[in-house]
Structures are given as structure tokens and as C-alpha cells.
Symmetry: C2
Subunit: 325 residues, 2 copies
Amino acid sequence: MQVVITGGAGFLGQRLARQLLAQGSLPDSTGQLQTISKIVLVDIVAATGFDDARIEQITGDIADSALLERAITTESSAIFHLAAIVSGQAESDFELGMRINLEASRLLLERCRICGHQPRVIFTSSVAVFGGELPAVVQDNTALNPQSSYGAQKAIAELLLNDYSRKGFVDGRVLRLPTISVRPGKPNKAASSFASGIIREPLNGESTVCPVGPEVRLWLLSPRKVIACLIHGYTLSTEALGARRTVNLPGVSVTVGEMVAALERVAGADVAGRVEWKHDPAIDRIISSWPGAWDATRATSLGFTCDASFDDIVRAYIADDLSVA
Amino acid sequence: MQVVITGGAGFLGQRLARQLLAQGSLPDSTGQLQTISKIVLVDIVAATGFDDARIEQITGDIADSALLERAITTESSAIFHLAAIVSGQAESDFELGMRINLEASRLLLERCRICGHQPRVIFTSSVAVFGGELPAVVQDNTALNPQSSYGAQKAIAELLLNDYSRKGFVDGRVLRLPTISVRPGKPNKAASSFASGIIREPLNGESTVCPVGPEVRLWLLSPRKVIACLIHGYTLSTEALGARRTVNLPGVSVTVGEMVAALERVAGADVAGRVEWKHDPAIDRIISSWPGAWDATRATSLGFTCDASFDDIVRAYIADDLSVA
């Protein structure tokens, strides 16, 4: 059993690889557990800190078909396609977003089609595919109406993965992720970067700026639950999934004000006091176009699970990622 | 005022060109009428029968960016992007459909972005973007769920045109067309080819095969109304259209059985008796995934109009296209 992870040097890619190394096996398409012999991490830079013979790293441009030919072969049974340009950057650098979020996804699917072995491809989509006038709770049949280039590119890749699956070229699974919180590390160029920063920075003793108002509602999932959902998304049988390859993952619906209140409950008023409110219209425009909740009935019935509360998400960050000074 | 029509040698493209030559002018983006000085027809073959100095023909591959550079310049104020591989052919020749319906659309929008003059781009989409479990009447906010590669490619091009419009690279208008009936000429490789054939062939004294049952419901628009909608779609002010660039055009909702009954009312039982019913599962699968009606309230409020009845559509074909033997 060989696994490919694009964006393999990124935060989710590395964490997924570590989890797969730890568990050591995945079921094949018949449900039989198979030992993982190789995990190929594909990214623009190499991941560091892996000391395992099963890890192979391929660095380069994911939108280069020659690189994809090296990365994906008829032995690649599970392909986690996580490589992406994040929302804020795809908005400011249109060409880069189109090349990585759209063209690389198309080339990856073409590579799979040409290989002809119908691999399982797990693709991460986003709340950003929705926008405009939305119901209070987005439904499975709510129309996509992205209000950012990132959202449009993700929506297009969803359609591609669905059609390549319908044609039998891949066995695709699109997981629409809630916003991930709390990401460890540094702020990034995602419009939603603050959704981690307002928890992470105060817990690390630093002040931070929240660019949207406390009334803004977000749909959140912790990194540990995202990894579990990715692996569950791979594991699901084709029959259980049916014709519709897109699944709205479960999450926790909270306002930004409630997030800071949870931080205060878990870590105290001094920590929560490190959040400074300073409105940023560009970020607010993108974030406010995203749904604050969607109906995850189908995901739940398929066995996907989420965090119990945002307090739990804060505690998970403290347990998994907060380094002791 | 210069106009570009891709698919300009096709049935709709030629008819649109003739209408534009006849009316001689179009409003510019400020609403001022401007004389049409040039109409560039872009297609894989040249259109015949045009004897007008305003017509320029460019033949070649629409998915070739060098050809698009010649066809589209900063002088191209109105671009009607009609070139497409039809549904049945895009399903049987996946690569060709992807290249023309997706890649050429992307390259055309890229060419406009690089030109930088924000032309009005009128793009024709289709009932085929919908599918799966549908409400009896599709609404503006019904989720796209194409069940054919043609539908997926049209849905992707819709998303691209919306995002390029949001970014200000083009002033795009997506018109979702009902199935066009009655097309003149010969059967084509569209799954919906029969929707014209079951009227056209009997009126021309020929027998014809209907591959779906009489209970199948279609959403139809005549060629003359399609041309009027294309020009109206160009003419609409950007303000009237607003942020959502996709319009579900009005149409006539009839079953295939009602179509043949209308043919009998207009042309007699002998003519209608030339329809032979012979089920084709491949065509039925695609056609039955399309909606038989959608809510056209927004289109109607924007001033788009359709035929009054299918009887009128049959009469329009007889008036416009039926050659007297």
C-alpha cells in the first residue's frame, strides 16, 4: 500500500503522514488491511523531522505534470490532495491560485486517469465554496456561490473530482472542511488565519489582533479531528458514499466572541485579554461570506465526527501543540 | 464596436451574426448605441454564405491561445462564447470535451484578463449543470449537480466567468439555456438532438426515432428566442445584473408526448405519425437527469422572454427554417 500526500510538507500533510506512519496500515478497496510500505510527500519544500524509511519526499511544482508523473504511479492507492494556496493569497495573487488550486488539481486527476488504476483521491474543499445570501444553516443542496477566487477554485476542483469519479477514472472523496482551529505555528495568508491566532498567540503569551467583530460566526474543526476525518474519508467504502462524492464535514458553530470567552474559561482572563479588536474590511468581506454552520447529517451518518465544543478545541491545542516554555 | 463570436460557424453563431449584421449596432457599456464595424467569427471551420465586409473569419483550434490572441483584442467589446462540444460527444470523447468546454473557456477568459479592457462576455450554459434529486421546479439557489461531463464542464466555466467578473477582469453574463428546439439542419451528437429531430424530420417528410419515453419532460426555447436572449444578455446593464452573473432563461416546459401532440395539432396526424418510439438507455440517462422546468422569475424581471407555447415553437420552425420542397 503506497500513499501520496500533496502539500505533504504543510501542517496537515505532515500530521497526516505521522498518523499514517503510527497506525502502519490502511484498508484497500476491498476492506482488507494493507501495510503501508511508502508515503510520498509532495511539496514545494521538503518536510523536516521525518526519520522513517517509508517516507519519500518529492519537491517541486505541483502544477508540473512531469513531477506528478514521478509522484503518482499505478501503485499509488491512496492520494490525499492537500496542496493549496490559501484564501487570502489566492485573492491577492490570482495567477498563483489558479495554477495551484485549479490547474494542479486538474493535472493530478489527469495523471490518475492515465494511470488507469482508479485510486482513491481524498480532496479537501472548504466553507469558501458557499457565499452570497445563505440560509442560517447551509444544506447539502445549497448552491455553491463562492465570493473569493479560492472558493471558486475549490468549487471547480470539486466538480472535476465528482466527474472523474462518475466516469470511473478515480474513486474520489471531497471533504468540505470547516475552518481549522487551532492551527499551530505562525499566522498564514488565509483570511481565516485569525481563527487560530486569537487562541494560539494569547496562549503563547503574545498579543494578537482580531480583524472581525465578535458577532461573526465560524464553523470550526480541530486539527486532530481533521486528520481523523481525512483517514475516515479514505476508508469509507465506495458503496457507502454513493454517487455524491462531496461531504460537508461536521463542526462546531461559534461566534468569535464565544471563542474568546472559551479561551477565558480554559486559560483565564489575562490570556483572553491579549486579543485586540481591530477591524480589517478585506478579511471581514471574505470571512462574512462564509457560512457559520451547515447541516452535517450526512457526514455524521457516514461516521465522521467533530469536537464536542470549542472549549474542547482549545484544550486539544494545549494538549497537542502548546510548547512548554 | 467590434464583436467576437466563438462557435461562429455553428447554427447559433451564424444566426446571431446575421441578426447583428441586420440591426447594425449595439449599445456600449454606457448605453450609447454604437455601429458594429466588425464581427469576428471564430470556429474550426469557416462559415459560408456571408457576403459582408464587416465579417472576419478566423479558423482554427479555440483551445489554442495564439488563435485567441488574434481573435480577441482590446477592441473586442462584445464576446459571445458559444463554442462547445455537445453533451453526447463530450461524454464519449472526454478529452475533447475537457479541452473545448473547459480549457478553451479558461484561455478565453485569460486572454480577456490580459487585454485588461473588461469586455462583456456572454457565455451559454445549460440545463445539464443540474441533476440528481431535483425539486419539481429548479430554483436560482438549487445546487449544481451535473451528471454528465458536458454539464460538469459548463458548471466549471460558469464558476470561472463569475469569478473573473467579480475580480473585474470581464463583465460576464452566463445564460443558462433551455434545450433548443427546433434546431434546423441535421441531427448532432447532443443527447438532446431528438428534441429537434422529432419535429424537424417529420415536417421534412422523414421518419425519426425518439429515444426517450413520452413522459419525459423538457425545458425548451426556440432558436429565434435564444438569439433574442443572447443579445438581451449582452445589452443588460451591469447594475441590473448585480453580483450574480448567471441567469436561468425562461422556457416552455413540456413532455415529449405533448411535443408530438403539438406537432399533430399544427401539421396533422400523418406528420406526427412519423415519430417512432425506441428507447436508448444512454440518452435517457443523460436527458432524465436534466430539469424539466426551472423558476425563471429573475430572468423575466430582467426582461428576457420565451415562446408562448410549444405550438408556437413548431410554427416558428415552419416559418423560419422549413424549406419548401
